[in-house]
């Protein structure tokens, strides 16, 4: 397939995943509401919010980096997504998967948050600054178990290509990493709790403590962009986890089913727990999940 056609298909799949990611966010809000004993917003509420935010008539700026913050964030989201094969075996939905894309994806997960940190810092609000330092500290912490579990996977399958990792997991659900390398999956799933920023790891956007973290000063279409990115980034992360640990998806339906249940994991935990203090959260990530990750590496390298 020519690179142009590939690009077009990549953007079509980007649209699909954005819609699915936003719908997932809507479903998650609904589930949270049901746990709390109320009806909750409609599932399509995230779409209306994005339209409204983009339709704001005024917007102010705090400088050039302030503009670039959401741009970096959304670039991080798209970048993460572009290198993940969405549907295994599909010519159209494989994006730009190539050898070594695991490393690229891990870099892009970092990239968006760093860009956001720069932009939010320019906003000048003290809560933004506090939240940025919290966010970066926590991100550094949850990347450790995630990186360890990816290294364990690389050692297990002997490749850095996501498509090949999926290929190695084909042939029945017992071939999934979940069953062949459970320790790595546990470490990665715990770090996903931190990545999704639900309780108990919601220290970055803690509304009662630092309302509401880095986006305190973001509004109008900036916020619309950030909200869109929530869809893309959530979708990309879930697809990555599905590919790495749950055997990938061979069609759109199984993709939806699997990503939904992976997301539900962080929702179940999030609805039942209060929030960690930042230092406790870092301490937690560097304790149990890291140990589990190291053990899983040792199992596959020794």
């Amino acid at each position: 397939m020519s690179i142009t056609l590939k690009l077009i298909w990549a953007f079509i799949s980007l649209g699909v995943v954005t819609v699915w990611g936003l719908t997932l966010n809507g479903i998650v809000q609904k589930i949270f509401a049901r746990v709390q004993g109320r009806l909750g917003p409609p599932v399509w509420q995230p779409f209306i919010d994005i339209i409204k935010n983009n339709a704001k008539r005024t917007a102010i700026t705090h400088g050039i980096m302030f503009y670039l913050g959401p741009v970096f964030r959304i670039a991080g989201g798209i970048g993460t997504y572009m290198f993940i094969p969405v549907i295994f075996g599909s010519v159209y939905f494989s994006n730009f998967s190539m050898s070594g894309d695991v490393l690229l994806v891990m870099y892009f997960i970092f990239f968006g948050q760093l860009g956001m940190a720069l932009g939010a810092g320019e906003g000048g609000h003290p809560y933004s600054a506090v939240a940025v330092s919290r966010g970066l500290a926590q991100m550094t912490a949850f990347e450790v178990p995630f990186a360890l579990s990816v290294i364990s996977l690389v050692a297990q399958y002997g490749t850095l290509n996501i498509t090949e990792i999926i290929a190695a997991q084909q042939g029945g659900f017992l071939q999934w990493t979940l069953f062949t390398n459970p320790l790595a999956v546990i470490a990665a799933m715990i770090s996903m709790l931190g990545m999704n920023m639900y309780n108990p790891f919601s220290v970055v956007i803690a509304p009662q403590e630092i309302p509401i973290g880095p986006p305190t000063e973001y509004h109008s279409s900036f916020l619309g962009m950030l909200a869109t990115n929530r869809g893309i980034f959530a979708g990309a992360k879930l697809i990555l986890f599905m590919n790495l640990f749950f055997g990938g998806a061979t069609n759109l339906f199984s993709l939806m089913l699997k990503t939904f249940w992976i997301y539900m994991f962080s929702v179940f935990v999030g609805a039942a727990y209060p929030r960690f203090r930042t230092e406790d959260s870092i301490r937690f990530f560097l304790k149990y999940p890291t140990a589990i990750g190291i053990i899983s590496i040792l199992l596959f390298t020794l």
Partner: protein
């Protein structure tokens, strides 16, 4: 509902010279000289509406995604809690409390407004991005209520910021507040809730009123 309809439009304000004829910039005289550089001195301008069909669609989106600023300005705030929690749950109507004024679109004035709070209200209101709407809850915000002779509460909030919908009562029940919000939705869909533009057009009148009661004005004239 007729009564609400009558009170939506604020009292006729005295004719004030068109803002364009005045000086183009604000003086920010309340600030010290070094602080004056930190703040914008441009005046707010009435926003232009876009193409009608588009505007109708956007108004529909606006009315279905009302984000309330989580600022409990008075005792009316106590009824905001049942509203956002399980019993009345306004999130099913697309509303949610928002902790920062930058992202909020509805300001709920909960009852009486003391001078110290009025200063924060003005500041928060101006930091909200338009189109922005104000719902004044409780009779104290409308005419002073039972604090009609108090030295520290303002009697009419619509002299200081434009109000779209009033909800009467002390306390108004959550159902009444909900009815107020549905009225606001109707107004937004009809394109009648243009408090932001009213504020920009009558900017000098509002500023004059604000400065008359806020004696120590140590903030910029318009908080962009």
């Amino acid at each position: 509902m007729n009564d609400i309809n009558d009170t939506i439009i604020p009292e006729p304000v005295p004719e004030y010279p068109d803002w364009r004829k005045d000086a183009k910039t604000l003086t920010n005289a309340g600030l010290s000289e070094e602080e004056q550089d930190w703040f914008c001195d441009a005046r707010p301008q009435p926003a232009k509406k876009s193409w009608q069909v588009m505007e109708n669609f956007l108004n529909w989106a606006r009315s279905n995604s009302l984000w309330i600023l989580a600022f409990g300005t008075g005792c009316g705030a106590i009824e905001l809690r049942p509203l956002i929690t399980a019993r009345y749950d306004i999130s099913r109507l697309g509303m949610q409390p928002r902790p920062t004024p930058r992202q909020a679109s509805v300001f709920m004035i909960g009852g009486y407004v003391s001078i110290k709070t009025l200063k924060r209200i003005v500041r928060s209101y101006e930091q909200m991005q338009g189109p922005k709407f104000v719902v004044a809850v409780c009779s104290c915000a409308i005419n002073g209520g039972m604090y009609w002779d108090s030295y520290n509460t303002v009697k009419r909030i619509d002299e200081y910021i434009p109000v779209d919908v009033y909800v009467t009562g002390c306390m108004p029940r959550p159902e009444a507040v909900l009815a107020g919000f549905s009225k606001l939705k109707e107004l937004i869909k009809g394109g009648k809730a243009e408090g932001q533009n009213l504020y920009a057009e009558k900017f000098d009148w509002y500023k004059e009123n604000q400065k008359r009661v806020i004696k120590d004005w140590n903030m910029p004239d318009y908080n962009w």
